[in-house]
């Protein structure tokens, strides 16, 4: 080696600067990412501390008493379950089937572009506007009245575009080469979808649907206008308390009323209600993650 060429791995000023920048960059990104945990921990911690005196199984199963200043939250809890399940039972099939059409069949023509545009814009509509629409369309025009049905339909329309989007994403993650291999042997599009596309995107599709549970459970405005009620007397622990044409209580709405509308509520009750709402949503999200992990472990390519 000639004496004036530096050895290959010597540490020059340039190399040192490069390493320094790399270290700084890594830490900046890491700190920002780690900061994501802080709000969640603070919220959960604060709520738990404040809610502690009321957090018992009895609180969940009891009905509110003494003008909602004491007692439990069972009617609201059951109402939320009703709203979430009925709304997703409506929006999931429609959204998934629509997404299959858009992703697997639709050609790039003006009509399908209109559909795409509609999906995107529907996703951007504020929930209070959905609420007004639900009030006009379902409560009055369709004569469903203030009812679980009206509220669920409104929530369904609100969750629909997101389900379409997440389902399309799941479908698009199946490699095109799989589809081409099927087409090459004379399979129709439907045979291809059934044999290869759906089985390999179902985990992503379900995850997308389940994540909409938290949205449907948390929204207040759409149900306040269409079917959620201030107070409704039902039996303690009764799971089949409501009919489709009745109004119901809901956790999000209940939280709003006892926090702002009812004087003299025991201080820990609103916090405990929030814990139940948050806990249910986190539980459902955890289930979605578990499902995804389980399905991923059976990944086939």
């Amino acid at each position: 080696m000639k004496p004036d060429t530096p050895a290959l791995f010597t540490e020059t000023a340039l190399v040192r600067r490069k390493y320094r920048q790399e270290t700084v960059a890594k830490w900046v990104f890491f700190v920002m990412a780690a900061a994501m945990i802080i709000p969640l921990l603070l919220i959960v911690g604060y709520l738990m501390v404040k809610a502690a005196p009321s957090l018992t199984l009895g609180f969940l199963l009891d009905v509110p008493v003494r003008g909602m200043t004491e007692g439990g939250i069972w009617p609201a809890f059951v109402g939320t379950i009703y709203l979430v399940f009925i709304s997703l039972a409506i929006s999931a099939p429609i959204g998934i089937l629509a997404a299959v059409y858009l992703n697997e069949y639709a050609r790039d023509n003006w009509f399908n572009r209109v559909i795409n545009l509609a999906v995107i814009n529907l996703a951007g509509v504020p929930s209070i506007v959905h609420a007004l629409f639900g009030l006009g369309a379902f409560v009055y025009a369709a004569r469903f009245g203030y009812s679980i049905l009206s509220a669920s339909l409104t929530l369904a329309i609100m969750t629909l575009p997101v389900i379409v989007a997440s389902t399309r994403e799941a479908l698009a993650s199946v490699p095109r080469s799989f589809r081409e291999a099927c087409w090459n042997v004379g399979a129709t599009r439907w045979q291809t979808i059934r044999a290869v596309v759906l089985p390999n995107s179902i985990s992503g599709i379900l995850t997308g649907v389940i994540l909409q549970v938290s949205r449907a459970a948390g929204e207040t405005a759409p149900i306040m206008f269409t079917g959620a009620v201030f107070y409704k007397a039902i039996e303690k622990g009764d799971l089949f308390a409501y009919g489709l044409h009745e109004q119901c209580m809901a956790l999000s709405m209940h939280l709003y009323t006892i926090s702002t509308q009812v004087p003299g509520v025991k201080e820990s009750i609103p916090y405990a209600t929030a814990v139940v709402l948050l806990g249910s949503v986190l539980l459902v999200n955890a289930a979605a993650i578990a499902l995804r992990v389980y399905m991923r472990s059976r990944t086939k390519w």
Binding site: A181, N184, P199, K300
Partner: protein, 253 residues
């Protein structure tokens, strides 16, 4: 030598959007011959195959004109495009094991065609896997996933799948680029056996492969046929076109 025509192509043009990639080519493929198709990248070889089985339909911006006849039937007018595709076996450059069991990979096409009796399916699966020289390696694990096989095995699985709908024409599109030389030679042996009852279109980057296997070879370049003749001419020192000679001998840039 006039042999029955299996595929007739007349003035075939193909454009993607405004860019024409095949400029009106005309040729015939005889029944039970192996036709080699050679040519550099972007010369329209894969697009040509996709015109034959009409999977070009899945590319919305593609415009096809001209006539392609398979067994005397014009493919763009056929009523049964799925039947047409079953008549043509297609093997893509990269092996694609479908994420279903090995058995289902091969049984998929017959099932799509409406076959459901277990005994029939069993027979086809075994026959096709044997033809693709894969049976001995997988016969004890037919229920494991096609995607878990090695690359070379997956390519043979792809070939088995292409044979599973009992095609009359087998198109191989650069089948050897993702597999090792030993497997390549095994598949080439398979092709030599298939030629007795099947027409084979062998698209390849390896001119020597066309020389080894094909009866006639077509040199396609930039969407035009430069030369199509028997291997004796194409790979001689004096093909009709100077460019064929240069390409075959690796002089061509």
């Amino acid at each position: 030598m006039t042999r029955p025509k299996h595929v007739e192509v007349r003035d075939l043009r193909l454009a993607y959007g405004t860019k024409e990639v095949i400029h009106g080519i005309t040729f015939d493929i005889h029944r039970h011959e192996i036709l080699g198709v050679i040519g550099p990248a972007q010369s329209g070889k894969t697009s040509l195959l996709r015109c034959l089985n009409r999977t070009i339909d899945f590319t919305p911006e593609a415009h096809v004109s001209g006539i392609v006849k398979v067994d005397g039937e014009e493919v763009r007018r056929t009523r049964d495009v799925y039947g047409l595709r079953r008549k043509i076996g297609m093997v893509a450059p990269l092996p694609v094991g479908l994420p279903i069991s090995i058995y289902d990979n091969v049984a998929f096409a017959p099932r799509c065609a409406g076959m459901s009796r277990k005994a029939d399916l069993d027979a086809i699966v075994e026959q096709c896997l044997r033809q693709a020289a894969l049976w001995e390696e997988v016969k004890d694990r037919l229920s494991s996933l096609g995607t878990k096989l090695s690359g070379g095995q997956q390519q043979r699985l792809t070939i088995a799948r292409a044979l599973s709908h009992q095609p009359e024409i087998l198109c191989l599109d650069e089948f050897s680029i993702a597999i090792d030389p030993v497997t390549t030679m095994r598949i080439e042996d398979v092709l030599k056996e298939l030629r007795s009852h099947m027409t084979v279109i062998l698209v390849t980057n390896l001119t020597q492969q066309a020389r080894r296997l094909a009866d006639r070879t077509m040199f396609l370049w930039n969407g035009d046929i430069i030369e199509l003749d028997s291997n004796a001419v194409i790979f001689s020192d004096t093909p009709k076109d100077r460019r064929t000679h240069d390409y075959v001998n690796g002089i061509f840039g």
